[in-house]
Amino acid sequence: MTVTLGVPSAIILAYSFLSRGAYGGVEQPWTLEDFARLFDPLYGSIFLRSFGIAGAATILCIALGFPLALFIARSPRKNLYLSLVILPFWTSFLIRTYAWMFLLRDTGLINTTLAGLHVIREPLPLLYNDGAVLLGLVYGFLPFAVLPLYATLERMDKSLLEASADLGARPWETLARVTIPLCAPGIRAAAILVFVPCLGTYLTSDLLGGSKTILIGNLVQNQFTASRDWPFGAAASVALMIAAIGLLFAVRRRGEELL
């Protein structure tokens, strides 16, 4: 564990303090310049944008995942629904993202169907914008929200819900005063499991977001490929890692384990 996790991270950390090689790679001397460059407003806005989209995806995943998890936890056919939630994992995320492109593009299924029904004349701009990226992220990470929420709801002592009704709470009051507060650990776990990977995503934004939607993940990817600026790419991913770890500690309650 320590070797497989630690060594690559240590290499990235070391690279982030080195200088750029002429044809990629890294050279001496050691420098903090690449971290300083991250404070450029250009990159600042990329970070902000990434946090914004990851935050929105997290909120949507929890908002959609909570009722779904509640439905599954109370259904007599839990196992069937749970396997349906996990089913998409059997195919590659890349292929599923391409499938969304086929649905959303100008000549995609949605636009051709709507045009065929004479609902629209011009194709709707469904692809290559922030909305498409958000849709792709919510689609891809919804199961990561549903599973911890389901686990918490399933474990919940049913007599607490009965007690709430017994004391005069209507169903929505029980939801707001008992079910959701008691589900807080599940909501935190879901938020972390969705937010952290969304923050570092590059595939979804690359395929569905077009050239305008550049996120931290795409920035890092570009530095290691097209731009051949490994130290800056490493610095950006170290910054991303620090942000993610900082967030983990921020949402952790006192005395509670991470996740």
């Binding site: 002592d157 007599s159 607490l160 009965e162 007690a163 709430s164 009704a165 017994d166 004391l167 005069g168 709470a169 209507r170 009051e173 005063r177 008992v178 507060p181 008691l182 807080a184």
Partner: protein, 309 residues
């Protein structure tokens, strides 16, 4: 006050409660007593509104309530596990129902009920920071503060340790007298039911076998089941005689001592009759000078014989 009229409850394959009719009067301490699976908890849950009867009616203060949701009924429940909200303090738990009803003077009512159950000063504790007895009192306070017509209690003493249980029995009975609320108390512990109740309904296999005061139920059981569920019973020639009514005498039924069981104040002498049946005689501890194989005579008064069809 509370009335069940021919209430039945069927689950998928079996009949949990069969044709139960009961009346609980205002201010009464009424127990449902029976072994596990006898339908007593299901009966309680139908009064609370967590289960709906397959047939029959539930009436409270002259209105029919069996179609109402739990939050629409003026009855409250003390759960077996107490079901305190773990994320709320003692105060949060106790004022939960008052807040749902949007009543005035919440603080005063919370303070008063916490004083009644001797929890003043513990308002800001979480349930996890309380002892078992304190948790049980929070559960009581949380329900009583709503001034229900009937308080439903589902084996509320079973989670307490045995030493505490007897003490809490007296406290609970005391509290019930003071607040004057009718209690419908579910238990499988006959001693508990006898010690606390004004009246008891003994249930078995979904049916009510007998309803009566503790004395009536114990001294004049109407069925074999009631007789043997409440206290020990000797069966001889189809007649029931309680061990405490059976003496070792100079004359009577000839028997051979099998063993003596020392119980502190009394000794139970088990003896085999000539016809092979075994009887137990209860004698004072000081009188017990019997050993295995001793020949004795067992005697009892005809008035203590219990006959059943």
């Amino acid at each position: 006050m509370l009335e069940l009229r021919s209430v039945s409850k069927e689950f998928a394959a079996h009949r949990a409660v069969a044709n139960v009719s009961l009346r609980v009067e205002r201010g009464e301490f009424f127990s449902l007593l029976g072994p596990s699976g006898c339908g007593k908890t299901t009966t309680l849950r139908m009064v609370a509104g967590f289960e709906s009867p397959t047939s029959g009616e539930v009436w409270l203060n002259g209105s029919r309530i069996d179609h109402l949701a739990p939050y629409e009924r003026n009855v409250n429940t003390v759960f077996q596990s107490y079901a305190l909200f773990p994320h709320l303090t003692v105060r949060g738990n106790v004022e939960f129902g008052l807040k749902r009803k949007r009543v005035n003077g919440i603080d005063k009512r919370v303070a008063k009920v916490l004083e009644q159950v001797r929890l003043s000063g513990k308002e800001s504790r979480l349930p996890s920071e309380l002892s078992g007895g304190e948790r049980q009192r929070v559960a009581l306070a949380r329900s009583l503060v709503l001034e229900p017509d009937v308080l439903l209690l589902d084996e509320p003493l079973s989670a307490l340790d045995p030493l505490l249980r007897k003490q809490v029995r007296a406290e609970l009975k005391d509290l019930q007298r003071r607040v004057g609320v009718a209690f419908l108390f579910v238990t499988h512990d006959q001693e508990e039911a006898l010690a606390m109740s004004d009246r008891i309904a003994v249930m078995n296999g979904g049916l009510v076998e007998q309803v009566g005061t503790p004395q009536e139920i114990y001294q004049r059981p109407r069925t074999r089941f009631v007789a043997s569920f409440l206290g020990a019973m000797n069966w001889v020639d189809g007649i029931g005689v309680r061990p405490e009514c059976t003496r070792i005498a100079r004359a009577g039924r000839r028997a051979t001592v099998k063993r003596c069981v020392f119980l502190g104040p009394v000794v139970h002498v088990e003896a085999r009759l000539e016809n092979g049946e075994t009887m137990t005689a209860q004698v004072a501890a000081g009188d017990a000078r019997f050993s295995e194989g001793d020949g004795v005579y067992l005697a009892w008064d005809a008035a203590d014989e219990l006959r059943f069809e």
